[in-house]
Amino acid sequence: MFYIYCPYCGEHREEEEFHPKGQAHLERPKEPEACSDEEWGDYLFFRDNPRGVHHEMWVHAVGCRKFFNVTRHTVSYEILETYKMGEQPSITADSQSQAREGAAVSQQEGVRA
């Protein structure tokens, strides 16, 4: 169970107070009517879903009710940072050394042995 730092409450809180809300930084097209069916479908349904560093949105549902962003490794589940809505991450897949990520993946994904 995660221990999540809410950037608005300024504290770590139990996962039970939060709801995950999917990929972060999804932007609704400014002019939906100008989108093709394909572009609109992409916006609605197609997701990054990386194995590794992921930016996702959570809401502190039982708490301050604020949405915010989390950078988390989807294999080790380590939370690398949390930041407010509208802010940009300081840690990204690119900024993380390949080696570190690789290590975490092979360490914690059980399929190999």
């Binding site: 409450c9 504290e11 301050c64 604020k66």
Partner: protein
């Protein structure tokens, strides 16, 4: 005056009222410990509850002028007046809970609105929708550990703190107004569930309900 409708939901006339726990007292009773009790529960019903929303900068002065309290700008803080009757609690960066003696909420809202003028803010009266349950006694903290996921250790939860957190399968606002007292703000529709939970979890401490 902001362009919102205000409405005093209370009346001066003597009309029977029922607190959110009224049904629960009838259904589950109000247990009294036979011997010495390590835990007391008391509902403080019919208080005035207002949700205040807006920027801290917008609200701060008005709150000080009208309520005589500093708007708590720091997360998780609870500020009370000297009598402990009036309090204001941080709920989120743009949301506060004000609790005042029953009947004061409407004049308070009116005054705040006057003071705030055309600024962007919101005040919602939720007095009918929630109630306050007070826990005291040496076992209060243990009872809370069975109930809420938040860390209630004194080093982490000093007097003057308040949080919104998970209460069993419901939610609560939990505050610590004084050394030996904890307050739970519970939603009306969940009140019976919360009450039954507290009685059940508190039984081993000889819970004592003061009505």
């Amino acid at each position: 005056m902001s362009n919102a409708a205000t409405f005093d939901t209370r009346t001066e006339t003597a009309i029977p009222v029922e607190s959110p726990l009224a049904y629960s007292y009838r259904r589950s009773g109000a247990p009294q410990a036979g011997g010495p009790s390590r835990l007391q529960l008391r509902e403080r019903a019919m208080l005035g509850h207002l949700i205040l929303r807006g920027g801290a900068i917008v609200l701060d002065e008005a709150v000080r002028d009208v309520l005589g309290l500093n708007l708590p700008g720091q997360p998780q803080t609870l500020v009370q007046d000297a009598s402990g009757e009036r309090s204001i609690q941080w709920l989120s960066p743009d949301e506060w809970l004000v609790i005042v003696p029953g009947g004061e909420e409407f004049p308070l809202e009116t005054k705040l609105r006057e003071q705030l003028g055309s600024a962007h803010f919101a005040i919602s009266d939720v007095s009918g929708g929630q109630t306050l349950i007070e826990l005291s006694g040496e076992a209060a903290r243990e009872l809370l550990m069975k109930t809420v996921v938040y860390d209630v250790h004194p080093s982490h939860f000093p007097v003057g703190k308040g949080v919104t957190t998970v209460f069993a399968k419901a939610t609560t606002i939990l505050r610590r107004p004084s050394e030996d007292r904890w307050e739970l703000v519970i939603r009306r529709s969940f009140a019976d569930y919360c009450y039954r939970w507290l009685l059940d979890a508190g039984a081993e401490f000889g819970i004592n309900v003061q009505q």
